[in-house]
Each structure stands twice: as C-alpha cells, then as structure tokens.
C-alpha cells in the first residue's frame, strides 16, 4: 500500500504494509539510517523521531498512522539546531548509537522548556537508554541547548 507523508520537509512515500513500523520504513525503504533500532519495544528511545513536532518512538508507530503527517528525523534536525550545537560543544557521544534518539527527545524538550530543571530532564529523558553512560553530558548539553534555543 502506498503511503505518503512529509519527511524532513519533503514529500516521501513508501509502498509497504500499513502495520510496518515507521522505524523500518525510514531505515530500509527510504535509506534514512540515522534513526536507530535498539529494542523494538518502546523501552530504549533509540528510534525517537518527531511526529508533528512531538517526540515518538518510531518502532511503535505504524506507518499507516503517519500518512499525510509531518515526520522529522535526526537528518532533518537542522545542523545549527541548539541541541546539535550543544552536543558538539560538549562532545556528548561516545559510541554514538543512542544519540540520534537522545537528541530528538531533547529537542522536543527544549522546544517547550527554556529552563529545564534536573527533575524536568530526568522525567523527560529517562525513556532513552545510553549504555555508554553519556547521561551527565546529555544533561549539561540540554541545559546549554535550552539557553541557546
């Protein structure tokens, strides 16, 4: 079934079964591999993208529900976005695998909270696992990004 949606500002379409998770449409069908697979069960946040500006887990988002809507992935987050700049300034990533998901989750936070407290960050970010333990730098980068945003 042909499904069309807006991906990073451009029209995208994929001829796939409507129950296919957005994650795999992005990665396999459209070749956008910045969005990562970590758990497939909404447990890790590696697959986080924005759907109409909200952070969602693309592994749990059937493509059928995305038709006609607006999806933003790490590739579509502008290079000069406050989150990307803060991540670079603090050298946040280690292996880097969880980071697209972390950044998309963080970008949705700083879009609505200009001065996130530690508790805000804990509440907002605790669905995103980083096995490399970059949490202290993510926390600091979010605060910097919120100031810049």
């Amino acid at each position: 079934m042909m499904i069309s949606f807006n991906l990073n500002g451009k029209q995208a379409s994929a001829d796939v079964a409507p129950d296919t998770p957005l994650l795999w449409v992005l990665r396999d069908t459209l070749g956008m591999t910045g969005t990562k697979f970590g758990c497939g069960k909404a447990l890790c946040g590696a697959c986080t993208v924005h759907l109409n500006g909200n952070a969602v887990r693309s592994c749990q988002t059937p493509i059928g529900s995305v038709a006609g809507q607006k999806v933003t992935t790490i590739e579509g987050l502008p290079a000069n976005h406050a989150v990307k700049k803060a991540w670079i300034a603090l050298d946040v990533p280690q292996c880097g695998y969880c980071q697209p998901g972390q950044m998309m989750q963080a970008a949705a936070l700083v879009a609505q909270n200009k001065k996130p407290s530690d508790a805000d960050i804990d509440a907002w970010m605790s669905g995103n696992i980083c096995r490399c333990g970059t949490y202290p730098r993510i926390r600091a980068a979010i605060k910097d990004a919120a100031r810049m945003a």
Binding site: K41, K84, V92, C95, M103, A123, N128, R131, I138
Partner: protein, 735 residues
Amino acid sequence: MENIQMTARRDFLKASAAVGGGLTLGMYLPLGAKVAEAQAKTNSPNAWVKIGTDNSITIMCARSEMGQDVYTSMPMLVAEELEVDINKIKVEFAPPAEVYINSLLGGQLTGGSTAVRDAWEKLRKAGASARMMLVGAAAKEWGVDAGQCKAANGTISGPGGKKTTYGAVAEAAAKMEVPKDVPLKPAKEFKIVGNKAQKRLDTPMKVAGTATFGIDVRVPNMLYAAVAMPPMIGGKVQSFDDSRAKNMPGVKAVVQYSRGVAVVAESYWQAKKAKDLLLITWDEGPNANNDMVKVWAGLKDASNQPGAVFREAGDADGAIAGAAKVYEATYELPHLSHSPMEPQNTVADVRADGATIITPTQFQQLVPFVVAGATGLKPEQITVITTFLGGGFGRRVEVDYTIDAAEISKAVGAPVKMVWSREDDMTHDSYRPGGYYKVQMGVDGGGKLVGYRYHGTSPSISSRLFPSIVKDGIDPFAVEAIDNFPYAVPNHKLTYQMHDTGITPGYWRGVSHNLNAYVVEGFIDEVAHAVGKDPIQFRIDNLDYTEEKHKWSGLSAGVAVGGRLKKVLEMVREKSGWGKKYPEGRGQGVAVMEGYNTCLACVAEVSVTKNYDVIVDKVTYAIDAGQLIHPDQAKAQVESCTIFGQSACMYGEITVKNGGVEQTNFDGYRVVRMNEAPKAMDIHWLESNNTPGGLGEPATALVQAAIGNAIFAATGIRVRKMPFTPENIKGSMKA
C-alpha cells in the same frame, strides 16, 4: 605478564573459537600471508599514514571505535610526530593485517583497555618515521641535508626559503628507506597529546546521524535476514515448518544455518514478521534443564574443591588458625549481559570467488578465518570492513554473528544484512560469569593482618575462547584484581576453581576485575570496620609497599604498586570531603584498585531510602593513569565506566530457566537511566608523565565496590550478594 604476551600470540595463531550452536573451529592463522593490502598505495610512507597528492592526510585507525575514542586518540599519537593538523586529517578503519596487531594481546583485537598502552610508542614512532621519510625525500630533492629541513603542519621548509608540502613529496617518500633510529619528542613538546581542548573527530558525524554503524550498512541488491535461534543455550534446530513464513510478502527464502533458521526478505520488517510464524522443534541440548538453583548449587559445590593456587606466601591456613580474630565472608555475584545499544548484525556477501564481511567487530583479524571455515573459501578471499560499533563492551570480541551472516548469505547467494532483535542479542550473549567467593582474614592481638585466604569459583572465559592461555587450572582473566592483591599480609593463599555453569561466559568490560575487586575491596572494608579503623587509613596502613612481581594478571602493572595506590587514596580522601557526618541512610564508601596499569581510588556517596532503594549521590575519583592522550575523553571513559558499573551492581542479573536466558529486553534487564545516574561526578587526575594506563574498563569494577561499601556506611548492612536490589539488601540484613 609473560604468560599472556607470549602465549596469547601463539593462542591467536591457533585461535580456537567456540561459536554458538556448539560448532568449534580450530584453525591456524597464517598471519604472514595476509600483510596489509592497505599499504600497497605508493603514497603511504607506512601502514599508518596515507598522503594524497592533494595533501590530504589519512591516518589509519587499527582499533575498533566503540565509544572509547580510539578514532581520535590513536590518530592524535600519529599526528603528534607526523606534524600535521589533527583536525584536518581523515581517519580510516584499518583492514586486518599483521602490522596492526595489538602487541599486548597478540591479535588485531580491541579489548583489555590496551589500545593506548599498545599504541603509545608504536604510533608516535609511526608518525615520526613517516615524517622523517617525507623530510628525507624533500631534502634529497633539494640536494640538502635532512637536518637543515623542518616539518610543520604538513609542510616542509628547507634552507633558502625552500618550501614543499607532504603531498608533493609523498610518492618519493614512500620509496625512502624506513629509518631505524626514530627519536621521539619529549613530553614537554607535545602539542596534540594531552591537549585538553581537543574535540573528538567523530562527534560531528555522530551528531548529524551520518556515522555508519554495522546495522546502517547498505550494499546493492542486499536482502535482510531475521533469525530464530534456540531459546536454550546449546540447543539446535531439530526440524521446522516454514509453510506460513515462506508465503509471507517479501520473503525470498527460509534457510537453516548452523545455529538457527533465517528468514530472508526484501526488508527487515518483512523478514521479522515471517520469522515469527516459523514453527521450530528444538533439540534442547545438554543444558535443557538448567536453572538458577542448579547454577548456584553447582558453584557452591565446586567451591568445596581446593582449586589452583595462583599466589601464596607463608602458611595462610596456619596463621588464620592461630589468629586472635578471624573474619570471613562469602560473596555471590551474578551473570551479566553486555547489551550494547546496537544489537549484533553483519552484512555478508558470500560469492563463489570470495566474500565481503562488513561488521561491527572488536576482532577483525579473526573474521576471515571463521568465515573461511563457515563458507569453504580461503581466508585471503575474504575482505573485512569494520564499521563504527554501537557499543562493544567485550561482546564484539566474539565473531559468532559474522559466521551466521556468512552462512545465510551463502545459502541464498546474495548479500544479506542479518539483524538481531534485542531479544536475540540478550539471549545469545556471552555473559559476564557469575561467581562464588570465600574469603578469610586472620588478625593478631595487635590488630595486624596475619593471614588471608581467597578462594574464587567461577566459569573460565578463556577456556572457551583462548584455551592455551589457561595453565595449571588458572585463567588469567579470572584472577585480575586479586593476583595483584594490594595489601601486605605475610601469610596468604589465593586460589581459583573453575566451574562451568552452563551459561556461556564472555569477556565483559573489566572482565574479572568486576568480580575480584568487589570481593577484595568489600572484604577489606569489612575488616577495617571490624577492627574499628577508618577505611581509608586502614588501607593506606596495610598496602603492600614492596615491589613483588605478580604472575597472572597479565594486563596489570605486574608489580605491587602500593606507593601509587597510597597517593590516589590520599587524593580521594581530600577531594571527596571524606569523613563528613551524614544523617542515617546516607554514607560514603571507598575502594581502591590497580588495573591495566592505572591506579584508581573512588569514593561513592549514596542514600538508601526506607524501601532500600539506593541513590548514588556522588562519586569522586583520584586516578593515576600516567600521561593522558586525550584528557576530555579519558574523563568520558571514567564517566562511562561508572554508569556501566552502576548498572551492573544495582540492577544487573541474568538468570536461566529451562536452559535459556530469562531476560529478553530492557524491561527484564534493567540498566541505569538518566534519572538514576550519579547526581555528581568529580574526577581528579594525578599529574604524571608515566606511560599511559588503560581507562576503558577499570572504573567499571571499582565503582561497584565503592557503592557497596557506601551502602554499608549508610545502613550498616553488608551486601555480599549482587545486585544491590532492595530484596538483596533486605536479605543481607540478618546475615
């Protein structure tokens, strides 16, 4: 030290990799036959440097980048002596080749916190040697003496204002004789090494989302494989019914391979959906009835064996029998999963005339040989390309998943990307072995330590992976952080009993440091408290200040390092505000260790709630790791180890039932999240020009002991059974 360095080399030569499904490949690695193809380019003065006629500089990275920063720190060493701008170079992952072998491990292998230690001189020499050849070529062209020429920032200047670039002389340089005597800069002249402002070279692409991990690789005409593997460790496929699976949309083939059944389709999701419809009857294998009751009974039973002595002095049993006071304890430590964020995967393209394997691996050198074994090709027909690794932690030292992908690609005659689900990854890991530990300390009437017995029982990882380093019943990777027992007790006897639990053991970040450091540092803390001494002062008073050599823990300093340990203890005492008074439920714990030639002391400060939930408020470190190459990332490694170790000691436990691993995803296997990470981390370095120590692992082990000791300080409860769950803390109360 000799034990590992000399025999490991031989071992890798005969690498015996026991891979999933019970297939054992014993083979000979003809290293000489496989010397760097990468250096064939005429514009490479040596295997580490490629210089383009456009003046582009490429530095080869021969270690796998799994977060620990080799992508930047290794090139920094080359660039320091090559005299190029580190921020303008390109980095390329090296193919398997003899020149890239890690001399501390004997193979082209990333592990054991050895990357920097192995590279420290070698890579600076590689950079210096290339620079000398470039300068030599320019001098020859100008008809002047090389001593009159100077290299800086990729250019060479000579007498009378002569100037040229590396690119212009690279071809001539590649034909110059390789210099024999290669002097290196003294530390005070370093411009790149030790630069606190240096950024990681891979950050921009990791932030952009363009860094290519194994799972991101796409090649033309590639198909996707999802796999079904036996739910019980050591099981096999007996028969399967694919009548529903093979008719699912997009499915190209259903194939049986050595350890399971693969569904190959046009996309991963199609493959996965069809895989879920397979009906498989398993041959359950030898572990079919294994469960935790059996695992623990087996370990405890085996601990009644005398074990093999790896260190002994005087008469420990006699001294303990005659001591005024004897303290004793037993410790139970669980099995753990690596669970890197990127599940295992490989792109394999097996053709009649050769194969290409693109994979996130820590051990690229082994891949051609195991894939040859699995496909009937020759190792030299197999090209291995290493991608970025989405975490490694030791899991990717194993090459099992490259074999699987190669078998599947061969069976379907097409390039295949095999992707494991999280469930596949967690249930087909090799696990940090659990262990059962018995310790005793005898103290005389004056409070002096007179006798120490240590008896560890745990599975032997090396017996499975590299059996020839196991000697006389001792696996060097089971006695780390105890062979170098840091305290002076005149009578001591340290023994190790190996025991297979039926749960595949694997090298896990810090390996046996995690087991032994917890027991050593937890127990010494018990003794300090029992004799009424301050835990830091007690350690300082009892450190071994001799220079006794240690035989077994081959990646450690190799000698007693009491003086260095004392310094980090004193520093951490000062920096942590040790001795503060806390309200009930809050406290500080200390631990100290030498591992990978790094000396570290850690103070953890924890709060324990009424429900026995542990909150890590702060960790403070004092670390002597010698000269730091990339200081900010040295710090990042300590942060990383801390949280990895915290996950292990607070939540980590893999259990088996009916022979299979019960935890399948991050709901069953809990790891530290943002809200649980230490509220503060304070990391201090001892200024030093000493040879660098390893940093990718040691704090992982140490922090666990510090947290355990802090829980005691906060609650008076000594938790000898990990993880530190409310259940285990409460359960320790009566003991």
